[in-house]
């Protein structure tokens, strides 16, 4: 599979203090990759290095087959979209005028504006002045701005942090559609449900280092206690280890028709993060 992003031994220091240490990961073209970590873990620093807003101290970085010295080129910028904590809008202008500016800067057709406004559920708000919008609506306009030129790769730093569940679901739907159309998505989030639902692979970043990297389901399996929880009609609660030797016992219970409920208790990504790093994702 072709890489959209390659990071090897990445190190970033601020005032001789390491914010990122030997960070290694790859993002494949067409996947949704989630970088998860608490505040201050280095997520935003990683995005800023990958988008050319920060210089790395050492290591190798390549995005869309381009090295950091090309990250300031128009060619690079026209292939990526960014929604970060630095992203802002012109408050005195309308939603439409803001998007029109970026449509022209990216040389995208103006019809794109309506398309992205539908994608972020703001079709009826295009004439509204940005200063009059709620925080959640502004976040959706910023997302529309990042998508306006149909980038090959999009960086989303906490894209749904200010959204209500309804709009979050709408955005997720839009992102999945975008991903299906071939856009690679690199996102950072605190929201474990979001990561489980959206990401093909996730990486846990803690204290500037990648602690785990895998598919969410594989991670949940890896950190499960590998036990079947069985509740019988007689009220008995059994915990049977998921090993071949116990297959007969489970089979018998099923044949007897005494199984009321049976489940495994794979941990959530949040629980795994806590287990791996010793701290919660806040």
């Amino acid at each position: 599979m072709k890489h959209a992003i390659q990071v090897k031994k990445l190190r970033k220091e601020f005032n001789k203090k390491a914010a990122l240490e030997d960070v290694d990961f790859e993002v494949y073209q067409g996947e949704i990759f989630g970088l998860l970590g608490p505040s201050g873990s280095g997520k935003t620093t990683t995005i800023k290095i990958l988008t050319g807003e920060l210089k790395k101290t050492s290591g190798n970085v390549s995005v869309l087959d381009m090295k950091p010295d090309l990250f300031t080129s128009s060619d690079f910028k026209s292939q990526i979209g960014i929604l970060s904590d630095n992203s802002t809008l012109y408050e005195r202008l309308t939603v439409y005028d803001n998007l029109k500016l970026f449509c022209k800067l990216y040389n995208a057709p103006l019809q794109q504006i309506d398309e992205v406004l539908i994608q972020v559920n703001l079709k009826n708000d295009s004439k509204k002045v940005v200063s009059k919008l709620s925080k959640g609506m502004k976040q959706r306009v910023l997302l529309a701005k990042a998508l306006i030129h149909k980038p090959k790769l999009i960086f989303l730093d906490e894209p749904t942090s200010a959204l209500d569940p309804g709009n979050m679901a709408h955005i997720h739907q839009g992102l999945r559609a975008l991903n299906k159309a071939g856009t690679t998505i690199f996102l950072t989030t605190h929201n474990m449900e979001e990561a489980t639902e959206l990401c093909d692979r996730v990486a846990f970043l803690h204290k500037g280092q990648i602690q785990e990297l895998d598919k969410p389901d594989d991670l949940r399996y890896k950190y499960s206690n590998n036990t079947f929880h069985i509740e019988t009609f007689s009220g008995e609660k059994l915990e049977i280890e998921n090993v071949p030797e116990n297959a007969e016992q489970i089979k018998e219970l099923i044949i007897e028709g005494s199984v009321k409920r049976m489940y495994t208790d794979n941990p959530t990504l949040g629980q795994i993060f806590l287990k791996v790093t010793g701290r919660e994702l806040v």
Binding site: F14, K48, T51, G52, E53, L54, K55, T72, S74, D75, K77, S78, I82, N86, S87, T88, L89, Y90, E91, R92, L93, D97, K100, L101, F102, K104, L105, Y106, N107, K145
Partner: protein, 231 residues
Amino acid sequence: MNFQRINAIFEKDMKDFMKNTMLLFMPVTPILLAALYSQMSMGEGDGMPISLVYLVVGVVFSTTTSGLIMIMMAEENEKMTLRGLIMSPASFWDIIIGKSLVTALLTLVTLIISLLFTDIEHFFNIKAMTGLILLFLFFLFLGMGVGLFVKSVGITSAYLLPIMFLFGFTPMFEAFNLADTAMKVAETFPIIQLLKMHEDNSWAPLGVVSLWVIGAALFAYICFIRTRRDD
């Protein structure tokens, strides 16, 4: 350079300008000053003295050119919208030219109205016009650099006042009875050089003003590069 991108930035700035009352009133001050001076010198026969005309020119460039671009850039910097432009495919020149066009247009209108009140005929020759263009570039780059350097619009007035005083009101320095060394330094300032050009009918002062333009352009460029990255 990409004209579509330059035009997009100009169009956005024009819309933003029309909704910004603070900026809308900035060109009014030099026009009122020019009207006032024209009333003061009425009936004196020989028209307005050239030093007074250049004082009006200095006020136009310092308040309108430097003031407008400084506030516009400082606002972009403060609200992080400049980063959005920088992270787009627009080049350094697309952004700089696009952002300068509104200021250029307003400076032109303000300058013409102000000079119509005073004495526009002094500038009906190539040398004087070149001087005005160089002066415009100097004040534009100076304002741009300060706008990029400061972190908020609120701080711009602290920088605009010294610029107005030093580079806009320079023709008044003679009246202040300054020390010889201070006067010698002031004589190298752009407006005094252009006054010299009128008096001596020489091209040399334009060279000195060009050096000021290059210095201001370098200052603006360094400040722009600083805003491109977070480190």
